[in-house]
């Protein structure tokens, strides 16, 4: 079967402060099958956000190609739904109005989007909060809205950039479980970025490991666990062994990234 998302030899350069081009992504290629859940892990600063922004068409890549369902893309489009790392809800819109943003932009009326909005609010577990503003929600609830907003346009591919990074540990685990539940109900092709290895191994069919400077694909690991997955698999020896393998692949880079940050 043809891949839903195809990336071929994608390279990206940024200009350094001195005006020198600096390679941030080095010829990255990957294929994601229909309804596959793929996670990318990598040290902070290795180019994960840059990669997903290129796929989303938010920034141009100097070399390479991105295809969604066979069509080459270079600009944002409703075939991709973006869930952002930052708190990116519109503070002046209620939960419902945030969720239908993408539909409203396409010109759909509030009345026609209402049933879908209500269904999504229920799906992400926010019943009763439709008319709340983001400032009245917790961090976990806001990321649920963020997800619902991306699902509303019914994209071919869901692009998620560290959506749970800012949440506390317990909320994050609950959100991981919820995400899998939602994904089971609304099958989607997902590219999910994280710097947390256990999050990637728990969620994904495949974990792709990014190496740094420049960002390159260093490994492609198939995760064998059956679905539906319970959070308790995180404590099994098989799970921990995979986490350990991935950790060994990026340990050196995580350490050097930390030293650079110092």
């Amino acid at each position: 079967m043809a891949a839903k998302l195809e990336v071929r030899n994608l390279s990206k350069y940024f200009l350094s402060r001195e005006g020198e081009p600096r390679k941030v992504l080095d010829s990255v290629s990957l294929d994601i099958a229909d309804n596959e859940f793929v996670c990318i892990v990598g040290a902070s600063g290795c180019g994960k956000t840059t990669f997903i922004r290129c796929i989303g068409g938010l920034i141009p890549a100097e070399e390479g190609q991105v295809r969604i369902a066979g069509r080459a893309v270079s600009a944002p489009g409703s075939d991709r739904g973006f869930v952002f790392q930052h708190d990116s809800l519109f503070p002046w819109r209620t939960v419902r109005d945030n969720i239908v943003f993408g539909l409203e932009v396409r010109g759909e009326s509030a009345a026609s989007t209402r049933p879908l909005a209500d269904a999504l609010i229920k799906l992400v577990g926010l019943s009763g909060f439709a008319d709340h503003y983001p400032s009245e929600l917790s961090g976990g609830m806001r990321q649920r809205v963020n997800l619902a907003r991306a699902l509303a346009i019914d994209p071919d591919v869901l692009l998620m950039d560290e959506p749970f990074a800012a949440l506390d540990a317990q909320t994050r685990e609950i959100m991981q479980r919820e995400l899998l539940k939602i994904w089971t109900e609304r099958r989607k092709t997902v590219l999910f970025i994280t710097h947390q290895i256990d999050e990637a191994v728990y969620l994904a069919d495949r974990v792709l490991v990014f190496s740094s400077r420049p960002g390159r694909l260093a490994a492609d690991i198939r995760i064998p666990f059956a679905r539906p997955r319970n959070l308790s698999i995180k404590r099994t020896p098989e799970f921990l062994a995979i986490v350990d393998d991935v950790w060994k692949l990026i340990e050196q880079e995580v350490v050097s990234a930390m030293q650079l940050a110092d």
Binding site: S78, R80, F82, S88, G102
Partner: protein
């Protein structure tokens, strides 16, 4: 052993606070009355509240007060509305066009910090002593804070939200109406509030300088005939106008930006 916590319920605190505000107002008015009645009894130097209210009543019955209020309000409203429309439009233009910003910015910065009310004699020479000169003064002093805040409002829109708009394929127009405009709204309101203060000053200064009608005219003529009660009445009228308009703006703000109220409640 249990210790009793000494925490006041918010409702009780609010009630106490309201009572203090009320007592402060009544006390102040009382002090005014007592001072005028028993301590500074010379009618040229001071006038008690009751005398001022009496004067106000007489002018209301004769209908004169409405004429003056009407003229002052007209000067204020025409000048302020013009300043708001032109100021907001120019601020948005400056924020969205690099070229407009480069051309306008030095002048805006200069005029924003200039005491433009000093141009009053000039406007009187050009536009005469009627309403037109006051409208010109009001417009000139009010426009710059409005313009500058509209500019800053657009510029301070969160870049993450602009990226969301791009990810959802917004047209330029949609980016403006769905992201930039709501993001700028609180700043625009701050600008309008500053503009109101300046516009009122413009009306007062313009009318005191030279006029044929208006609350400022009332004050000047009363001052020339040593009628301190009417002078006080005029000042009181200006204050009432100012407070009323500020309250009106607060209403508009609540209606246009309900999410800001919800932030305040959560805090």
């Amino acid at each position: 052993m249990t210790k009793t916590l000494n925490i006041e319920l918010p409702a009780t605190a609010a009630r106490k606070s309201r009572r203090r505000v009320f007592l402060s107002i009544v006390g102040g008015l009382l002090l005014w009355e007592i001072t005028g009645r028993w301590f500074v009894t010379d009618p040229i130097l001071f006038a008690p509240l009751s005398k001022v209210l009496q004067t106000g009543w007489a002018l209301t019955v004769s209908g004169e007060i409405w004429k003056h209020l009407g003229v002052s309000m007209a000067e204020f409203l025409i000048g302020f509305v013009l300043a708001s429309v032109v100021g907001v439009a120019m601020g948005f233009l400056m924020a969205t066009s690099r070229r407009a910003q480069d051309i306008l910015d030095p002048w805006v910065s200069f005029f924003y910090s200039s005491p433009l009310v000093a141009l009053t004699p000039f406007f009187l020479l050009v536009f005469g002593v009627g309403i037109a000169s006051k409208v010109a003064i009001v417009f000139t002093v009010a426009i710059f804070p409005i313009l500058l805040n509209a500019f800053v409002g657009i510029r301070s829109a969160d870049p993450h939200l602009l990226e969301v708009a791009r990810a959802f394929n917004c047209t330029k127009r949609q980016v403006f109406s769905k992201v930039l405009l709501p993001a700028a709204l609180p700043f625009v309101i701050v600008g309008l509030r500053l503009g109101i203060g300046r516009a009122l000053t413009g009306v007062v200064v313009g009318e005191l300088f030279a006029s044929q009608a208006g609350v400022g005219y009332l004050i000047t003529t009363a001052g020339q005939s040593f009628d301190t009660a009417t002078v006080f009445l005029g000042v009181l009228l200006f204050s009432v106008i100012g407070v009323t308009i500020m309250e009106g703006l607060k209403r508009v703000e609540h209606a246009m930006a309900p999410w800001r109220k919800s932030i305040a409640e959560v805090r």
